[in-house]
């Protein structure tokens, strides 16, 4: 393996991605959403409600999770097709790096860049929240971790879109459409209830697991300890099918499967298609 070549592509991809205005904008948006300005005012006035953190975290979950795909989907969707269109992919691959090594460097570089944005956005906000006297820092860290996992799933999907697209504009359009589809479908409650009534809880759970945003949201509810007040119909179906002890690890596993499968498909497709 040409480790230096992979490192070259990875560092170049990371630097280029982190410099884009899109990424900077998202860093600021995540920070503003996570810092929860109204609650900061209340905190400064000494009027923080007793359930402040739980409310803050559930707001964070419901507002930011549907937005997280918008970071990786457009960026990942154009990443390969743009290189193809401009001819730079041909230049990169004319050097002694394989298609698999290029994909590895590109995917990890983008993953690190987008994860950095999430960590900086949420992390900076959590530091601010922490200094206001809230001590439950663990929940914020867990939300960051699960947000990063959802981001990874979306990046995997975006890279597949990029590989199959012939034009950058088409790839960007498909990326936005996929976000819209998942963001709209992520409100699954009615559908899951209907499927549960007609075909049973296993079929209903399958529907839930096919939506990575909802699956990641459920994982965050369990993992960050947000409590039963945040349970969706999907959470309840999962608890019914898998039981109390298994739901958290199985949901975690489901998100991991999404990550592994999307990146594996992206890797396999890129290795076997004409690169330029």
């Amino acid at each position: 393996m040409n480790a230096l070549g992979v490192w070259g592509i990875l560092t170049f991809t990371y630097k280029e991605a982190i410099r884009t205005k899109w990424v900077l904008t998202f860093g600021i948006i995540f920070f503003l959403l996570a810092v929860d300005i109204p609650d900061l005012y209340l905190s400064a006035a000494g009027n923080l409600p007793p359930e402040y953190l739980a409310g803050n975290l559930s707001d964070l979950l419901s507002v930011t999770f549907p937005l997280i795909p918008l970071l990786a989907l457009p960026m990942g969707a154009v990443s390969i097709v743009d290189e193809r269109e401009s001819g730079t992919l041909q230049y990169l691959l004319s050097n002694p790096v394989t298609k698999g090594e290029f994909f590895l460097g590109r995917a990890v570089g983008l993953l690190l860049a987008t994860t950095t944005v999430i960590i900086i956005g949420f992390g900076a906000a959590s530091v601010v929240v922490f200094t206001t006297g809230i001590s439950n820092y663990f929940s914020v860290v867990m939300i960051m971790a699960f947000a990063a996992m959802l981001n990874a799933v979306m990046l995997g999907i975006a890279l597949i879109i990029s590989e199959f697209s012939k034009r950058k504009a088409t790839a960007m359009g498909i990326g936005i459409m996929v976000w819209f589809l998942f963001a709209v479908v992520s409100s699954l409650d009615q559908l899951v209830i209907s499927v549960n009534l007609r075909a049973g809880p296993v079929a209903a759970l399958t529907i839930v697991l096919l939506d990575p945003i909802e699956t990641a949201r459920e994982l965050t509810v369990y993992g960050a300890g947000l409590g039963q007040g945040q349970y969706s119909v999907g959470n309840l179906v999962a608890l019914h099918v898998w039981g109390n002890a298994n739901t958290y690890p199985y949901t975690f596993l489901s998100v991991m499967v999404w990550i592994v499968v999307t990146f594996a498909i992206g890797f396999f497709v890129f290795r076997h298609q004409d690169a330029a």
Partner: protein, 306 residues
């Protein structure tokens, strides 16, 4: 480099059809053909970034079986200078050394060779086309590859850039580099040791530039500066000598003359009764002649090797 039965299809479209070719060390193969002839597809296949049927071996290494090994002996100068606009010249060189798994020691030597060392901190977006072309050559030369692939290297470059490029090419040929250059219309014919014309994925004709020129009935253009009253007489005399297709423009008379007899025509005109204050000959280039013939559909399968 040897190419055996190489075939590439995109659906029903045949980009390369059962291509066979051998290039010896130190040769410079110029591949000509109109857009869509298969030139760039062939270059991509040689680099191993396309899936294709058949075998391509570079320095004995099979491109399909060991793409990394094959690419170690290849230097590629991309079409349209496909570089990253936001990176500097030096950044590109560093990226290339990493991709080639090398240290940065060669960077200064290669950038100096193409006169870019002093401009190394300049971003690509601020570089002229000529500079981008030279950057492409410098990057391709990092790692001292045995084979250089140049894809339409002069397509966007002005005359000065083309002359500079030809100077560099001559120097590299002197060093014994093997080169494959594609072009749809350039002035590189005289630098090639072999010329191959592609059309619709097939080799139409192949041979040395001299051999191919002699097989063509190529015409040159003759410009004669004559006094206006002498134009009819000069036209008549030149016609008798073999020139045709006359056009008068002020004091200049233009005529087409078969390349093989152009010197005889000039000699006959000089010995004639008319005063010619100047004569210019515009030579035809092998590549433009073949492309013209391809466009006219009059080049058949005249390739001795196919």
């Amino acid at each position: 480099m040897s190419i055996e039965n190489v075939e590439k299809r995109y659906g029903k479209f045949t980009a390369l059809y059962k291509m066979n070719l051998e290039i010896k060390t130190g040769e410079h193969l110029l591949i000509l053909g109109p857009n869509g002839a298969g030139k760039t597809t062939l270059i991509k296949a040689i680099m191993g970034i396309l899936n294709f049927k058949g075998t391509i071996k570079i320095d004995g290494i099979d491109v399909n079986k060991d793409p990394r090994g094959a690419k170690k002996v290849i230097g590629y100068v991309p079409q349209n200078y496909a570089f990253y606009e936001s990176l500097t010249i030096y950044d590109h060189a560093v990226l290339t050394t990493r991709l080639k798994n090398l240290g940065t020691a060669q960077i200064e030597e290669k950038l100096r060779l193409v006169n870019l060392w002093d401009a190394r901190t300049r971003r690509v977006r601020a570089c002229s086309d000529g500079m981008k072309q030279r950057l492409g050559i410098a990057l391709a030369l990092i790692g001292n590859p045995k084979l250089l692939l140049l894809d339409e290297p002069t397509s966007n470059v002005d005359l000065r850039g083309q002359l500079e490029f030809q100077r560099l090419l001559r120097a590299l040929l002197k060093q014994g580099k093997t080169m494959v250059t594609t072009s749809h219309l350039t002035g590189l014919g005289e630098l090639a040791t072999e010329v191959m014309v592609l059309d619709r994925g097939r080799i139409v004709v192949r041979g040395s530039p001299e051999e191919l020129m002699s097989r063509l009935s190529v015409n040159d253009t003759l410009f004669m500066r004559v006094r206006e009253p002498d134009v009819p007489g000069v036209t008549k005399l030149a016609t008798e000598l073999g020139a045709f297709d006359f056009e008068a423009d002020g004091e200049w008379l233009r005529a087409t003359v078969p390349s093989k007899i152009k010197l005889g025509v000039v000699k006959g005109l000089m010995n004639g009764p008319y005063t010619l204050s100047d004569i210019l000959i515009e030579r035809s280039e092998i590549e433009s002649e073949y492309v013209k013939l391809l466009q006219a559909g009059s080049v058949g399968s005249r390739d001795p090797g196919n």
